[in-house]
Symmetry: C2
Subunit: 331 residues, 2 copies
């Protein structure tokens, strides 16, 4: 198995990417191909004192920035590490691709270079968010701002497969994000999706309210990409302000610093619980080969975990299971 | 001035409503009319040992439950405290109405009994949420799940008037909730609303991402009611899980309990900062007379603050200012 990793994606590239790949290669014994400018990658590794032994490099001249338009990945920046990595994945030079780069470009590139599984209406960006009971997968996190009911149905099915295969849940609870739990709530999109999910081959638990999402009311949360993106970013924002307030609270004077020491074990547990890097990145569910979007601010540990997630994605045969499940929608 | 208060709305009615009205009558010297079953209200006040002197009662036989359909307020439950209160408001028996009851019924009842200001396309439920910089008003919090650009434009204008009149901000920053800050982001709804808000007579700061909402990036956040409801409930849910984790952290053993004592002043400040009861309730912006939706789980203090908010709404002439602003849309 070989995992392709975008060397020039994310705020901390290429340094944290290189360090993360080293950790993953050592810990999981997996073959890794770093994609990006060979000279720059070797220089950076040299400066960091990180050995690249056992890690190959697939050369790509340029890279995509956060300011580039998503479609640049297809033509104008076809020589970027992201475009070259996606092509290498499509060509079978690797089994999965991990990138922390421009999300729009990664979705666009995966759509046109890697392509979706036959029968999949649209791929979904599927971040994994922490909850009181562990974590849940959110589809769509923002790849498709406007969705039809048949797309949302497939998002529910694909999320269910992921949570079953990768997180080993027997019957992942699939919930439809809505403004109330009653089946009559929401707009036509929610009404129609509710009906489809009710008949579908998954453990649909009905509508869910966002108040209950962080409590762990479901394992798969289904929403259109606009709503999903709001959920993703607001969860991050509210979490961040709480963490900042907690930090301020525990460092304001000597007494509170002593208090911080006293609660340190609990703090570390809590920090781990809400640490997005624990769960890896956001897979592009529905892609014909595994593509994982790592968080833009990923550090070495986050990259390592995204590689671990990519390995599981491949070894558990998630793509093939989705392929089988999508047979009903082919042709 | 007389404030009408629904005696039988919310999880803690009528006891906390009665206590809240007593506090408000004493603190603000305002006339209050409690709406609801006279015998039950007097019995409850007696049991609580709360005097009703200076508080009148407008009798209503029944009350709306959370399970009632919104339209019940119009016919089947026309004798409910909510329906009777709204009629009293429409008839000029009071200057504002506060209720913590069924939100859907309150919106429906306000629409058909109190009616909207001429020129207002749709009323918006406008909760006030805490942020790092104080608070912001969210319109629409869920009254209109699907919105047109002209509705969102008016939501921005009405929210701006509220934040100016009630919270005394000179030029409230109006932001459009979107999946990115660039003007090209979002769906047709966001594109068209962006154009309208840019030309409008308010301090439009452009698109905002939900990650920045809790940081206080704007004073007025404009969104369709589905998105707004997601924001409202998710903010509550994420906040709740953090508070629960913080509580667990600070009470797990003797050492952590001592630590809690050490950080108590900071904890209380933080609690106050995120306490929704501080800001009162969610006004129904665009109603021809002030209607305030108090939180369903309001306690006496929350009711008192909702009454204070209603007083300010009346004395600052918010309805008249909106009327003037909506002249452009009349006829």
């Amino acid at each position: 198995m070989k995992i392709l990793v975008d060397g020039f994606g994310g705020d901390n590239s290429p340094d944290e990417v290189i360090k993360g790949c080293r950790l993953a290669a050592d810990e999981y014994g997996v073959n890794i191909a770093l994609v990006g400018n060979k000279q720059k990658l070797e220089e950076a590794a040299g400066k960091l004192g990180v050995s690249l032994s056992g890690i190959t490099i697939i050369h790509a001249d340029g890279f995509i920035t956060m300011e580039d338009s998503p479609r640049d990945v297809l033509k104008k920046k076809a020589d970027s590490s992201m475009a070259v990595g996606l092509k290498a994945l499509a060509d079978g030079q690797g089994d999965a691709f991990v990138s922390a780069g421009n999300t729009g470009a990664l979705v666009m590139g995966t759509n046109f270079i890697v392509r979706s599984i036959e029968g999949v209406k649209r791929m979904a960006l599927a971040p994994i968010l922490p909850s009181e009971k562990g974590c849940f997968m959110l589809l769509d996190g923002g790849a498709n701002l406007e969705c039809r009911p048949d797309m949302l149905l497939q998002f529910g099915l694909m999320g269910s497969i992921y949570m079953n295969k990768i997180l080993h849940l027997d019957a992942p609870r699939v919930g439809l994000v809505n403004v109330g739990t009653e089946p009559t709530k929401g707009t036509q999109l929610q009404h129609d999706t509710y009906e489809l999910l009710q008949k579908a081959d998954c453990n649909f638990i009905g509508n869910i309210e966002c108040r209950d999402l962080p409590l762990g009311v479901c394992d798969v949360a289904v929403a259109d990409g606009f709503t999903g993106n709001v959920i993703l970013k607001l969860t991050e924002g509210v979490g961040l302000t709480f963490v900042n307030n907690l930090k301020a609270l525990l460092t304001r004077n000597l007494l509170s610093k002593l208090a911080a020491l006293a609660v340190k074990p609990g703090l570390l547990e809590f920090k781990k619980k809400i640490d997005y890097t624990e769960y890896g990145g956001a897979p592009l569910m529905g892609a014909s080969r595994p593509v994982i979007k790592a968080h833009g601010s990923s550090n070495a540990k986050a990259f390592k975990n995204a590689v671990r997630q990519a390995i599981a994605f491949v070894s558990e045969g998630v793509v093939d299971t989705i392929k089988d499940s999508m047979q009903a929608y082919v042709g």
